[in-house]
């Protein structure tokens, strides 16, 4: 359905105009009068405000809310379930008209949604699903698989297929963040294997990045001794920050020549450009989340039908195409650029496999069909 030029199923992700937004607000107010009698108010609960990804999401939402002329109340869930619950309550206390939740874990969703339903407040959930809320966010299995496959193909181009098999894949994980983000890192491994074929499990090293730069650095430092001199070190991680920390550690150990990195999220563009070993990152475009979220919210408030799941479209971001996504950065041709192809069969098989995993049975709607 098209809502003043916004169709969630075919939206390109560029911010809609202020006029369009204003028209949406008019519709929304007509269907749902502002609860404070003056202005529509959207509550946004951010996951943890000092994570750059989350901040970019927040900035996108702020920009859209300002353009639409609606009020925004922002809280910080601080990666904590109890805080998320208290924050949700504070939204109800403030009579917000709509809530955008970016919270820690799918399992906390039910309780928060119960309160929201009681108060008749609609919710969009970002990246972590909540029952009965519209889901908007990353396509975890696909983005992970893309990144892993890209890493494999780029590594073959750089080191040759035989040498790659002697190398090590190091994945910076975040195990405590749950099954849904884990689809990303598992996808990375599957994608990598899909691209390089047989690859010994013993040569896959997983480290816990604890979602910080310094921990990624430290743990990469710790494992680097396990990787024999001269073999390829192929690095990917849960996000660009972790990938960067790992990259720094390898560089510091003086083994940059053996290194190849594919990031996740494309939110450390400067590093991507500056570091030759950092060849690509899977684009998440968090700064565009707001472009989806605010129109989606207004659409729901206006009483229009919205799909229950809106997944982000991901693209590989490289030195060669970065300018297409981020105008502030220039594109540059690199000699080792590759033409990326998603190994479709392996990808299908991977999706089949994870659909059977018991821990994902509650999140099947987040597993794409293609």
């Amino acid at each position: 359905e098209d809502f003043h030029g916004f169709d969630p199923s075919s939206f390109d992700g560029n911010m809609v105009s202020a006029e369009q937004l204003a028209a949406m607000v008019v519709d929304a107010i007509a269907a749902n009068a502002p609860r404070n009698g003056q202005k529509l108010t959207i509550g946004f609960a951010n996951l943890q405000r000092d994570i750059s990804f989350c901040l970019k999401v927040e900035q996108g939402i702020v920009a859209n809310a300002e353009a639409a002329g609606i009020d925004l109340q922002i809280v910080d869930n601080r990666l904590d379930g109890a805080t998320a619950l208290a924050n949700a309550e504070s939204f109800l206390q403030r009579n917000v008209d709509f809530v955008i939740e970016f919270q820690t874990d799918a399992n906390f969703g039910a309780t928060i949604m119960q309160k929201m339903n009681e108060a008749n407040t609609k919710v969009i959930a970002i990246d972590i699903p909540m029952p009965g809320a519209t889901f908007f966010g990353a396509n975890n299995p696909k983005s992970g698989f893309m990144g892993g496959a890209y890493l494999g193909q780029a590594a073959i181009q750089k080191f040759g297929a035989d040498k790659v098999k002697t190398g090590y894949l190091v994945v910076g994980e975040l195990p405590q963040s749950g099954a849904v983000p884990a689809m990303r890192t598992n996808g990375q491994v599957a994608g990598f294997k899909g691209a390089v074929g047989e690859f010994a499990d013993a040569q896959v090293i997983k480290i816990d990045t604890k979602n910080t730069l310094e921990e990624s650095f430290t743990q990469m430092n710790n494992v680097i001794g396990r990787i024999p001199e001269g073999v390829p070190i192929m690095v990917t991680a849960i996000n660009d920050q972790a990938a960067t920390g790992m990259l720094r550690a390898v560089k510091q150990a003086g083994r940059e020549a053996d290194l190849i990195v594919v990031g996740m999220g494309a939110d450390e563009i400067q590093t991507l450009i500056d570091e030759p070993a950092f060849v690509a990152s899977v684009g998440y475009f968090p700064e565009r989340y707001g472009n989806f979220l605010v129109p989606l919210a207004l659409m729901e408030l206006a009483g229009k039908e919205v799909p229950d799941t809106v997944l982000m479209t991901h693209y590989m971001v490289t030195d060669g195409n970065v300018c297409e996504f981020y105008k502030d950065f220039a594109c540059s041709a690199t000699p080792d650029a590759i033409t990326f192809e998603l190994p479709e069969d392996a990808y299908k098989a991977h999706l089949e496999e994870i659909r059977k995993l018991p821990e994902l049975q509650d999140s099947l709607n987040l597993i794409p069909t293609n």
Partner: protein, 332 residues
């Protein structure tokens, strides 16, 4: 000397009465109460959403599980102990309940087993720090690491659902419109206050922390007292974990971990001395409420979480200064 007596007589009963009030043992708590009331007044003026029954109860509900841990930590610190593992125990408890229920154990039996496990951890903390005389900070920090490690291993690091019929009411229901977690917290504070001030055991707590050597000398079972307090702290952690799990409908392996510093800060801010021998649960309660109110009020005012950090720091310092002002006035 003649002059001194004269001036003392000149500025008569009023100032002196005030000084006498300040010198009362509960005057430190009274200072915190004043601070709390000022905080409430300020937020009431600044935010239209703040001062109403619902929000006040909400603050109580938000801090209930923190308050429980801080309540039980207070007599422990007074007796000269310290429990850094309490929040990890809360996390493990939620996880245990969820896992046991998953294995088919009835939920309240699961809660009972989880409490028993917590008690065992408390006994271990107590034995290590008293009988083996290990440093409490390192011992309970080590225990924290072990307990939360086990919770992570058991769950594979994942948060587990905890929506169980007949269970979640303990986190969500209200009695006479007062949330049950808040009732549990208040009852705990009251019970601890009774124990600490009215019973022999309670006096032993203060004696043991004030001067363990002297207490032992007059036959007070110092070690047993401290062990019991470690168990109480661990149990409070377990109850906090149960309540939190019931409230959230889910159990994270490290659900309460981020609140450990808040718990310790509340106890110390409440006037309990880390050196032992001194403190009261009411001070802790006020400190918990102050921290919770600050959080709630600033959030309602839409203050960014970064500025909230700054504000919290300033408020902590101000609150602790008050007590010092009192000491100054008393000429100590």
């Amino acid at each position: 000397m003649a002059t001194t007596t004269e001036t003392a007589a000149a500025a008569p009963s009023l100032k002196r009465r005030f000084m006498e009030l300040l010198a009362k043992p509960w005057s430190g708590v009274a200072m915190l109460l004043v601070f709390y009331l000022i905080l409430i007044a300020v937020f009431s003026i600044l935010s239209p959403f703040f001062f109403n029954t619902r929000n006040m109860l909400q603050i109580g509900l938000n801090v209930a599980y923190i308050g429980l841990m801080a309540a039980a930590g207070t007599p422990l610190i007074i007796a000269g102990g310290l429990d850094l593992s309490v929040a990890a125990i809360a996390g493990l408890t939620g996880v245990m309940i969820s896992l046991l229920v998953g294995l088919g154990v009835p939920v309240w039996v699961a809660v009972g087993l989880a409490l028993a496990l917590a008690a065992a951890i408390g006994v271990a903390n107590g034995l290590f720090t008293t009988r083996l005389k290990l440093n409490p900070l390192i011992t309970t920090l080590g225990m924290m690491s072990i307990v939360s490690g086990i919770a992570l291993v058991l769950t594979g690091g994942l948060t587990r659902p905890l929506m169980i019929p007949g269970f979640n009411w303990i986190g969500n229901e209200r009695v006479f419109s007062i949330p049950i977690p808040l009732i549990i917290m208040v009852v705990t504070f009251f019970a601890l206050w009774l124990v600490m001030t009215k019973t022999k055991f309670g006096r032993f707590i203060y004696a043991a922390g004030g001067n363990a050597e002297a207490s032992r000398l007059i036959g007070i079972p110092v070690e047993r007292t401290v062990i019991v307090l470690y168990v109480i702290s661990a149990l409070a952690g377990a109850v906090a974990g149960t309540i939190l799990g019931a409230m959230l409908g889910a159990a994270g392996p490290n659900a309460a971990g981020s609140q450990l510093l808040t718990v310790i800060a509340a106890i110390i801010l409440g006037g309990t001395s880390l050196n032992g021998g001194r403190g009261s649960v009411w001070g802790t309660l006020l400190a918990v409420l102050i921290l919770g109110t600050l959080n709630n009020g600033l959030t309602l005012l839409n203050v960014s979480s970064f500025w909230q950090d700054v504000t919290r720091g300033v408020v902590l310092m101000l609150a602790v200064s008050l007590d010092q002002l009192r000491n100054r006035a008393l000429g100590e």
